[in-house]
């Protein structure tokens, strides 16, 4: 069999995890944009999860992809961390 005729079959769909990931029920805090003008333009590059996008001049954070690490809030005063869940906790509350 000639080298070029060896079939190449991808083991998986490229970037499939980006489509199925959902971290909403796995974090205690989530970032909230409080001031678009106070976001360091480098902040999307500091996000480990690629959850921050700049679209049409405005930053947006994906609630699915964000794991709630808080790096963005550390690096940009225009982002603050808020509790993911503020309701009663546990069966006794």
């Amino acid at each position: 069999m000639a080298f070029k005729s060896v079939p190449v079959v991808p083991a998986g769909e490229a970037g499939a995890l980006a489509a199925v990931a959902d971290n909403r029920n796995q974090r205690l805090r989530r970032p909230e944009i409080s001031d678009q003008t106070q976001i360091d333009p480098l902040t999307p590059l500091y996000c480990p999860d690629g959850a921050i996008a700049l679209t049409a001049g405005r930053y947006a954070i994906s609630e699915r992809l964000c794991k709630g690490c808080g790096i963005c809030a550390q690096e940009s005063p225009g982002i603050r961390m808020v509790p993911e869940y503020t309701g009663p906790r546990g069966i006794l509350n």
Binding site: F3, K4, A11, G12, E13, A14, G15, A16, L17, A18, A19, V20, A21, R27, R30, P31, E32, L42, L45, Y46, C47, P48, D49, G50, A51, I52, A53, T55, A60, I61, S62, E63, R64, L65, C66, K67, G68, C69, G70, I71, A73, Q74, E75, M81
Partner: protein
């Protein structure tokens, strides 16, 4: 918050299987922003391999080959040879190892590929201990750092990998830091334009191993450079250039912010400071 993340242009990182606040994931995202879609990655056993995903689901949008621990640069060499046979010239071939897969367990294949001057880039993303197996001591663990198998702290200094790689006479050697993404991206762009072997050593903190909070990952990396323990420089065809001039803040500000140095005495902290004062501007990775 929205669900409108830009999933089409991200080549790595979205939905990855690593911890929150992962420094390795940040390094991967910044590097792929420079390398682009025409890139093939080989990764040995490491956190980075785990981050990539498992079974048939991956966060990579470029070809990604999970190799054995010892041989990511050797596999990358073979991929480059296959591309050359096919006449494909516009693809970056990158082996991406951790400190174990590059400086220790994987060193034999790295030194071989560098000696052969393979047309490829090797990346050492350095979290300074074996985090994928629980945080054991390795050759890139700094002096006095506590690890899961070294409760009293490491007794010897970190092996100077950039100097070792420079001794191979390769085209390009650079240190980088996830807290300085513009510098990191510029170095990857320069390495991608080379026809020979390039080596980039990235500081990528691990909050679990370093004893910091997840949101401190970038800040602690920045402190490492600002205090002089992680110099940002490059060696291009043997010509050395410092790419960032730090404020040279006290080393104690960096060390005492981390749980792995919680047992550091004043004398040991002073020893670190004296070492930086004496050696800053020499070779990289001196801690």
């Amino acid at each position: 918050m929205t669900d409108s993340a830009n999933t089409a242009e991200e080549l790595f990182g979205q939905g990855h299987a690593g911890c929150k606040g992962c420094g390795a994931a940040i390094a991967g995202r910044q590097a792929m922003a420079a390398l682009g879609r025409r890139t093939i990655i080989t990764v040995p056993a490491s956190c980075m391999a785990t981050l990539g995903g498992g079974n048939t689901q991956t966060t990579w949008r470029t070809p990604f080959y999970h190799t054995l621990f010892e041989c990511a640069p050797a596999v990358a060499s073979g991929i480059r040879a296959a591309l050359d046979i096919q006449g494909v010239k516009d693809v970056n071939v990158v082996s991406w190892g951790g400190d174990a897969g590059s400086a220790d367990i994987g060193f034999q294949s790295l030194t071989g590929a560098a000696e052969r001057q393979e047309h490829m880039i090797h990346v050492l993303y350095d979290n300074e201990m074996y985090m994928n197996t629980g945080g054991q001591t390795g050759s890139q663990t700094p002096l006095y750092a506590i690890t899961t198998n070294g409760a009293l702290g490491k007794k010897v200094r970190k092996k100077n990998m950039p100097a070792i790689m420079e001794a191979h006479g390769i085209d390009y050697v650079a240190s980088a830091n996830i807290a300085f993404p513009a510098d990191l991206i510029a170095k990857f762009q320069k390495a991608a334009a080379k026809e020979g072997f390039s080596y980039i050593h990235i500081l990528a903190p691990c909050h679990r191993g370093w004893g910091i909070k997840p949101d401190q990952t970038v800040d602690i990396a920045r402190r490492a450079t600002e205090c002089g323990l992680w110099e940002l420089y490059e060696l291009d065809q043997g010509r050395r250039t410092r790419t960032y001039e730090p404020g040279l803040t006290p080393v104690a500000d960096y060390l005492r912010a981390q749980g792995r140095f919680r047992n550091l005495t004043d004398a040991e902290t002073a020893e670190y400071q004296a070492y930086v004062d004496a050696h800053y501007g020499g070779w990289g990775g001196k801690n």
